[in-house]
């Protein structure tokens, strides 16, 4: 099958590649761009491990073809840290609140939480839980992921983070 030349911006850098139309975006990101922080979990649009940010939307990159991302602006977990290399508020939140155990779901969780906080800078616990309902974690029971996102929201909003009593 003839290959198509595609270009897009990933984590601020212009990238290009030759892909078959059937190449899924997640495969292009991992195999052509060698950005393996984006994980492939279920491959059936359920788990959210492959979530990336595309033109201001959280998208499961296993359910979109790379050719469809022509001209788009993408952020993956490799582009989340601050420009000086320090951890972003969300990364710091996941570290401080123990928002990960095995870490497999974490890139997708952080990319999804990034867009959630862009759209809703002060989400309630319920809104966070609904906001990450397309991302599955089999380790944490979600409690510490929710706290990690609350921590990040507080930090971004410049207010002190207080853990809710359990």
């Amino acid at each position: 099958m003839a290959k198509t030349h595609i270009t897009m911006k990933v984590n601020g850098a212009e990238v290009e590649g030759l892909v078959e139309p059937r190449t899924l975006l997640v495969h292009f990101i991992r195999e052509n761009l060698s950005l393996t922080g984006t994980h492939i979990g279920c491959e059936t649009t359920h788990c959210g491990a492959c979530t990336v940010d595309i033109d201001g939307m959280s998208v499961k990159s296993c359910t979109m073809f790379a050719v469809q991302a022509q001209g788009s602006d993408i952020m993956t977990i490799e582009g989340v840290a601050n420009a000086d290399g320090s951890l972003s508020a969300l990364q710091e939140g996941f570290r401080m609140m123990h928002g990960l155990q095995c870490g497999f779901c974490t890139p997708g969780m952080i990319l999804r939480a990034h867009r959630l906080l862009q759209e809703n800078p002060s989400p309630s616990e319920e809104e966070i839980r609904m906001g990450i309902s397309g991302n599955i974690c089999r380790c944490t029971g979600y409690q510490n992921i929710v706290k990690a996102i609350q921590y990040a929201a507080a930090k971004i909003n410049g207010v002190e983070f207080r853990e809710a009593a359990e």
Partner: protein, 287 residues
């Protein structure tokens, strides 16, 4: 999982898309949000030779009000429905339903046109469109036609769409001010299709139900309008006796398949409960 090979087309106009689909014939499939089709392709349950991606056609997106009708472009996503002030104001039941479809990531990509055109009995919007008296605009090589949602669904994945035709927009009459509404969906988890779901839109006058429509999702091969159930509540104050008669009338037309969501009797039983809850919640919202 990797889909079979196909040729990718991204037309910039509706005319080009229609031309491509009619020229390429059965081997071509239109690609909207892709969140039903792409998983099927990865499982090799679908292997189209050509995909005609509709994302390049600007005219297929958007929500506008035309007098007393809301017109929604087929490529409008569930996320865009949820973000629309016009939908929130005129058709809040659309927001309630869209929020019960899949998960946030899927709603950024999944379109209302794909949801209603696919003919999947598990999709939520078709029964709602029938309940609201919506119609679909279908455009093909020989021109455009309007088909009522209630006339569109013929069987699982069988619809009134002719080969080469595209569903381009949905027209929904705005319900009366003060109408009551509810979409009740029982599902096993976020992202699942309904075990059973019911849509209700009604109006009240003097404490009695004046008009009522009830739609059912995933309780038959096609979405259903529960007309006898709706008739049973008109003129009542939705007292327990009327609710019971309505639920029984709705259950009588259900013919769900037994699947991982439960055996037939269970799905009909909870279908009746969804109808009851939707009626109760709708009447509580009506003024």
């Amino acid at each position: 999982m990797i889909p079979g090979p196909f040729s990718y087309h991204r037309p910039a106009t509706l005319a080009d898309a229609v031309k491509l689909l009619s020229t390429l014939g059965d081997e071509a499939r239109p690609l909207a949000g892709g969140h039903s089709l792409v998983p099927m392709m990865k499982l090799r349950l679908a292997s189209p030779e050509h995909l005609v991606d509709l994302h390049g056609i600007a005219g297929l997106k958007g929500i506008r009000r035309d007098g007393n009708t809301i017109v929604i472009g087929a490529m409008t996503t569930q996320h865009e429905l949820l973000a629309s002030d016009e939908i929130g104001k005129s058709l809040p039941i659309l927001d309630e339903t869209a929020l019960l479809i899949a998960d946030p990531q899927v709603r950024y990509r999944g379109t209302i046109g794909g949801n209603v055109a696919n003919g999947d009995p598990g999709n939520d919007m078709p029964a709602l469109m029938m309940t609201l008296g919506a119609s679909y605009r279908l455009e093909g090589a020989s021109g455009a036609r309007e088909v009522a949602a209630a006339e569109f669904y013929q069987g699982a994945y069988f619809t009134a769409l002719e080969p080469g035709e595209l569903l381009t927009s949905i027209s929904i009459p705005v319900p009366a001010t003060g109408h009551g509404y509810a979409y009740e969906k029982l599902k096993r988890k976020v992202g699942d299709y309904a075990t059973a779901a019911a849509a209700v839109v009604l109006t009240m006058a003097g404490g009695k139900v004046a008009t009522c429509k009830i739609g059912l999702t995933n309780l038959s091969e096609t979405p259903l309008l529960a007309e006898d159930a709706a008739k049973a509540v008109i003129g009542t104050s939705l007292d327990p006796a009327a609710l019971k008669i309505a639920a029984a009338a709705a259950v009588a037309i259900m013919s769900p398949a037994a699947d991982a969501r439960g055996p037939v009797e269970y799905r009909k039983h909870v279908g009746g409960i969804m109808v009851t809850r939707a009626l109760q919640r709708a009447v509580g919202r009506a003024s």
